[in-house]
Subunit: 412 residues, 2 copies
Amino acid sequence: MEFEKRILDNGLAVISEVNGFAQSAAVGFFVKTGSRDETKQISGVSHFLEHMLFKGTEKLGPLEVNKAFDRLGAQFNAGTGEENTVYHAAVLPEYLADVTHLWTELMRPALRDGDFNMEKNVIKEEIAMYEDTPSFDVIDKCRSLYFESHPCGNSVLGTRESIDALTPKQMHDYFTSRYSPNNMTVAFAGNFNWDKMAELIAQLCGDWRRQNVFRETADYAGTIKAERIQKKNLVREHICLISPAVSMQDERRFAASLLATIVGDNVGSRYFWALVDKALAETATMQRESMDGTGAFYSYIRCSSENLQKVLETVKDIFENLDGKGVTEAELTTARNKILSALVLKNEIPMGRLVSLGFNWIYLGEYRSTEQDIADVKAVTVDDVNSLIRQFKPGRFTKFILGPDSTKTNQT
Amino acid sequence: MEFEKRILDNGLAVISEVNGFAQSAAVGFFVKTGSRDETKQISGVSHFLEHMLFKGTEKLGPLEVNKAFDRLGAQFNAGTGEENTVYHAAVLPEYLADVTHLWTELMRPALRDGDFNMEKNVIKEEIAMYEDTPSFDVIDKCRSLYFESHPCGNSVLGTRESIDALTPKQMHDYFTSRYSPNNMTVAFAGNFNWDKMAELIAQLCGDWRRQNVFRETADYAGTIKAERIQKKNLVREHICLISPAVSMQDERRFAASLLATIVGDNVGSRYFWALVDKALAETATMQRESMDGTGAFYSYIRCSSENLQKVLETVKDIFENLDGKGVTEAELTTARNKILSALVLKNEIPMGRLVSLGFNWIYLGEYRSTEQDIADVKAVTVDDVNSLIRQFKPGRFTKFILGPDSTKTNQT
């Protein structure tokens, strides 16, 4: 594996990891923009814009875009989050230049008014669908309660109202300022010729105009609040808990992942043995989510209304025990094996390497090999995890519950 | 990549493909048994038995099994089909011996009466769940209509009645005759020491007793029938079409895959442009499913009752056109790129290689590298696909429709 990089004069970063033994190649365009970079007035514009890129350019209509990916046999996708909008494709090595060329065209979209107005309905349907998915909705609502006015609490999809009110001009302006080359990274992974790809990007993207780009990244302590909302159609209690954790730039992020795995991996964790194995909850998981300058632990638990009280007491016990006694060497060993195995399996394919490559560059401005990540996970000690518990106190969380309206248990 | 094999005295096949550059390793136990090897009296026993293996051995209880996989950080799973029951795990190389040892223990299960009776309810819940999933149910019902009394039409899950009536003795007998070492293949892929793993299997499985094992593999022409069933809770028409195709042993299987992709890939296919892009159907796909000695093309289409008639007419037109004019060079090129890219991406990870390795051995008794498969896909010509169409006539299908009971369109 060799790392290569080249920064164009307009600020566009081109990075790559060549693996001559791979049989495929992957390319990704990472745009450092997401819901946290939006104001209330344009809430949802990042995600909406991602949809609009597939509507094509002045030269290519939506149908031609579809056919072009199809002809190359490309496995492609895109996604928008709080902090990044990522476009990627995996292809046979001989089609990497063609699919890269296609993406560079899509990155300078036509943003036609007609497509914009049609696509509003697709976005509003997506909003409706997610509102009807309580496991998603409860996390969105809890995030908003936890982050309050901090931009990390912004919804990725936006609201029906913000989407309805959005104008083509607002999207154009957002596009111009955020899809600026100095706010983007192009990454390649797998089997390809680096010089050829770097030259291709320089040729196709060298004339993209640089803008001033800014992101507010102040850390944020988070609230400690509790709320419960009733919905008629629900038959289960959906619980989300959020507490502070480390940022993407924090070296303790591996220790934080180990802690989340010990507490809330989907099998064999403290949540699993105390809640799922005892049939108190149907599912109970905890994850570490690190962001630019801040981070949080997220728990999601689903149970019957009948068990709600007992589940909340058990969660309280789990965190009190954790705070008092810490984790054990045996727990750390099991969690380490799980994380290492997931890490290695994910990074064995060019698509997996691409994502690691891109995010390490965006958040850390550095290249990290899979071996470095493995070594860092292996180096975490019980003391590291326990000092994280003492400092971050994961039992002090903001809690949001979505539940049926007919329940007798209405305390939060 | 090096292929290695060793056949133990009791008939157990141990095969492997070592890839010194992989960072993980995978192991799989392939048992050549499934619903087609069952009689009506024991319908569903293969799948039920797969569940029972995780209940442990004389020495290991279900909880210990769970904890053992957990401790190794193993990503593991099992699945039962018409022809095979497969158990597999991917781990870091240093845990391959341990996870292999664990699987060899599970392959000689305790099959306790208490676990057997408890698990019946789990199986019956799974049957109920799939019956409530019309996209699954319609294929199951269509397969049964198409294969009639041929064992390939047997249901994998069985029925509530067959599961209720099943006795521990019947399962024991089935286990003894089917999980015989000469009916099993152990496969390894990824980064590991072949001699060490072959020796481990010889030590742990060398004393498994060989039995006489038999499978009926006569080819089958299939019926050309049509049926429609109404269900109150449905809001859409679910259509399944089945017609004859090539077996796993037939060299034309790559041409058959290309044909299915041209007709029914989920984007860019004839179905896509004529049905999905025109908003007549919500989804429309076709796949080639090859089996031991026989094979079939399966189509699944979902649409509103209002569009049903138009959809069926369009499908008729598609196949008439295909029969009369064949496929084009451009269609073949696009389909080839899609199949090659999916093939390469799947086989880039040890888990993907493991599955190819195992099935090639079971069905063909040979090793095939990814490169051989690529070459065979590339070698298929328009003439090959067109002669397949002339011979198999995919427009002559058995059709099953599951739809709402209030529809005005009740013709099938």
